[in-house]
Amino acid sequence: MNDSSEDSKRNGASPPVFPPSWFDEEAYLLTHEDVAAGVACGAIHSGYEHYVTQGWLENRSVVFSRQAPHDQLYRWGVVEKDQPLPGAQGAKFRCNIELAVASGGGGLFVSGWIDDLESPLDTIRIVNSNWMFIFSVSDLVRVRRADVEKELGASHQHSYGFFGFCNTGDPLVVESVGCSFNIQRQDGSAEQTNVNIGRIGDVELRDLVLNYFAQAGFYGNRQVEAIRACGSGFGAQIAGFNRDVSRRLVRGAYTRNFGGTRPLRGSLMVCLYGKAEFVFLQNALFSGRPGFQDYEIIWVSNSPDLSERLLAEIEIAHSVYGVPQTAVLLPGNAGFGAANNAAASFAHSDRVIAINPDVFPKDLAWARKHTDLVDGLPAEQTRLFGAPLYYDDGSLMHGGMYFEFDTGVSLKADSVEDCRLVRVEHYGKGAPAASQRFTRPRPVPAVTGAFISCDRAWYEKLGGFSEDYIFGNYEDADLCLKSLQQGTPSWLHDLRLWHLEGKGSTRLPAHEGGWLVNRWLFADRWAKEIDHGLLGPNPTRLPGAGGEAVPSSSEDTAGTGN
């Protein structure tokens, strides 16, 4: 395919969204040797991922498994490319249901398009012999579809596409004979079509929805519009569904302990995704250092495909380094929050330390110092604290986090509106290593989840990390704000660690979708609180957080947070 057609396809056509179980991975890798080579060396996560992000743009050939419903592939346009878009010419209006998928846990996803320029879409009624479900217009996210615009010869900017997701909470019995879809516009006109609803697993459905969302087109600022779309109800539905999925995954955890259960001074909780080498790297670089004999490592894996290797590596590491450790293997990606909460339940100490797999000691005596801090400082300064993290080049990566607002504009049909989004910023990013302003002990609005040390009882009182965020963003700031809300601000103490950011895991398209939802959720939950004296690098509620000198009269406020 030449560049121009690829570009037009990238900008126009709907993204290929279907569950991995419909995709013949083996056939794809056999057919495309370059992709197979990329998968073999780890540059590409899977053939499926390659196809949905890149391969479809290149018109790569693909084989679908038997369980893929042919009619949906046709509607979506995979099977017969270059055919006119479905939607009967003689109907009252043209529309199409392209994808309808349900999962055993009660998730239901529908996507398609409708010519509703004259009269807006009102409802989509799905009728099965066992159940009925109605998506009202407020439940649906409208998306830009350049391919539909071209097909209809549209001259107006109008979002013809739509998708909806609902966490029904009940297992949906899906019959092979299909469901009746009644698509009604506000003027009362309606079209009816029968669609077989595909049945896939909960994790697969979550990832499919997020993948679709990440690649959906919008008029205006794509990120702003996508985050606003979450507020329509989609965000709450997918976040709730993800929470339910995560909890089911945690209930299915497999655990194995290596090295006994004696009481310890600290429990490192390391959430692994996509890479196993951090098991032996962290074991090697943490073990044998002053004070670390009183610590353990709890590995919690969000990558079921790594389970066998992780167990082998943990067993080897235990024999080589002698660090007590526990493996908690989850049957799917439960996300950072749920995984850490699961890990905390296996801790053999009263101090839980969430730490990224790509964090290593810079100060080799950090563990001894950590223990001394916890023993020696007032409890309110150590209930929840972080540490300065450093880049491999020696400069400061950050010394605490603060909040700013981004203000974007959202385009409505008849207006332009403000959209405020919270942005998490880092103190001292790229500063010289010895920037005491940013490394000195002080209360800060939040600390990064790459290293959070928390009193276990306090962690449990706060409910641990929120499990509402998808995969992993904002849980750290959320935990810190919960702590502040309950009277204890986060602190930063000068324990120095390397953070080789970006080397910890592989980022997939669905992660991008999750990040958009998380950004909406965090703003929805905390924007008002942040507006109340927590905004900017020098928040009025935490004098001295930005590193400037603190007036003596304000010292009493440090540690209360209110």
């Binding site: 090697a284 290797r309 082998a312 024999s319 002698g322 080799l364 080397k503």
Partner: protein
């Protein structure tokens, strides 16, 4: 004293300098009263026929005290095995042998973590590590030869290393350095066969007082008979080694082209060695094309002859065919055994002016040096060697006997015994007392414990 030698490959399975030296030492230790040596040589799955079902460590060819470590699931980037049964078998082997000294000659195919595991299994054992190249410092085959511009590298850093591996980020090299240094902490004494290597490792962060120079030594391959001096013109040159890029045979070929273009053809070059298949595609094509052109010439016009690989017992015959031995390596080398082999037979060496060649060859006294990688300089040196009257006799007469196996043995025994005669950072000859018990080392890591 029970000494366990651990190395990569057995020289009778895969040839190479590190395994040859390790085996020479093993043989020497066997002949030393009061020493009980055991050899454990790692092999890889390419030696499939030697892999016995269910075994991780086996004997070798019915020889007492020689064992093979059947490496599996080896990660060549991190240098470790992912096979936990191998680790179990290694621990069991250590417990059975109960060595007082464990002398590693490599970590390839074994894993860096076996150093730490050895310390954990036998806390009071003396761990010695002979550095046969710079693999701890340099991920590019341990040669410190930059892949982006083929220049010699004097120091490693995460950014410089990532320039040699465009697909990898600096952070990966930062982690690699921490990982290697962490396991090097388990070692009591490092030995290097050349002195210059000490500076490379000290610059990298290894403490000078943990490194001792102990020369490589070989048995005498001449059988006590020195080759007769060649008479008349001394215009026959020999290359001995693998035909891989870093050994620099291509520099020699370019020098031949240069001399031909100048009309100077009164010389012969014999190429002894194989493994051209391991050369880069470009170099292989270049060498193959040259060989084809050369073989198409009338015999009297041919100047270069490719004689193929050779065994140690063929050295006498091959060395007898030449007057000079050319060592045009474009990396540092760490000892260049071929120099010793040439000297055994009284052949002066023409070598690159870096690393082990520069350290061992005394220019204009027992050999000649030329600018590394500089084919024009080599051509001029060859012309001089062919034409300067009395040069060969003078240089040949200046050759000292290469270090014998006994010199290596004595040096290593001093290191094993933690002898007062071992002076860290120098050759194992003079006095300095070393701590006998193992102390954890952290000085090489990025930041000191405070």
């Amino acid at each position: 004293m029970r000494v366990l030698l651990i190395g990569v490959f057995h020289p009778e399975i895969v040839r190479g300098g590190a395994q040859q030296v390790c085996y020479e030492l093993f043989e020497a230790l066997q002949a030393t009263p009061g020493i009980e040596p055991t050899l454990l040589a790692a092999i890889d799955p390419s030696c499939e026929s030697l892999y016995k079902s269910g075994a991780r460590i086996t004997g070798f060819d019915g020889r007492p005290n020689e064992f093979l470590y059947l490496s599996r699931e080896y990660d060549y980037w991190w240098h470790k095995s992912g096979n936990r049964l191998l680790h179990e078998s290694f621990v069991e082997f250590l417990q059975l042998v109960q060595p007082e000294v464990v002398h590693f000659h490599h970590f390839m195919l074994l894993g860096l973590d076996l150093l730490t595991l050895t310390r954990r299994t036998l806390p009071n054992v003396r761990i010695v590590f002979t550095l046969h190249e710079f693999l701890g410092i340099c991920a590019a085959d341990g040669h410190m030869l930059r892949r982006n511009d083929r220049s010699l590298c004097r120091h490693a850093s995460q950014v410089r290393c990532s320039q040699c591996f465009p697909g990898r980020r600096p952070e990966e090299f930062f982690m690699r350095e921490m990982w290697v240094k962490r396991h090097f902490e388990a070692v009591d004494v490092f030995t290097t066969p050349s002195r210059f290597m000490i500076e490379h490792y000290v610059d990298w962060g290894l403490e000078r007082d943990r490194i001792v120079h102990v020369t490589n030594g070989q048995r005498d391959y001449t059988g006590g008979h020195r080759l007769p001096a060649s008479r008349g013109r001394h215009n026959r040159f020999g290359f001995f080694g693998q035909l891989v890029d870093d050994k620099g045979v291509w520099v020699l070929i370019e020098a031949v082209r240069q001399l031909r273009s100048e009309g100077f053809t009164d010389f012969v070059v014999e190429i002894n060695g194989g493994n051209l298949q391991y050369a880069s595609e470009a170099r292989r094509a270049e060498i193959e094309a040259f060989q084809k052109e050369e073989e198409a010439l009338p015999f009297e016009e041919r100047r270069v002859f490719f004689l193929g690989s050779y065994a140690v017992d063929q050295l006498r015959q091959r060395m007898g065919r030449v007057d000079w031995c050319v060592v045009p390596s474009v990396w540092y080398e760490t000892f260049a055994l071929v120099i010793s082999e040439a000297w055994m037979f009284g052949r002066p060496v023409i070598g690159s002016d870096v690393g082990a060649m520069a350290e061992r060859i005394h220019h204009d006294k027992d050999g000649l040096l030329f600018g590394v990688g500089d084919s024009r300089a080599l051509a001029e040196t060859i012309r001089r060697a062919c034409t300067e009257k009395g040069l060969w006799e003078r240089l040949s007469g200046g050759i000292q006997a290469p270090p014998p196996r006994e010199a290596m043995l004595e040096g290593m025994l001093d290191v094993y015994r933690d002898s007062a005669s071992v002076q860290p950072g120098s050759t194992a000859v003079s006095s300095a007392v070393r701590p006998r018990s193992h102390r954890p080392r952290t000085a090489a890591m990025p930041e000191e414990a405070k």
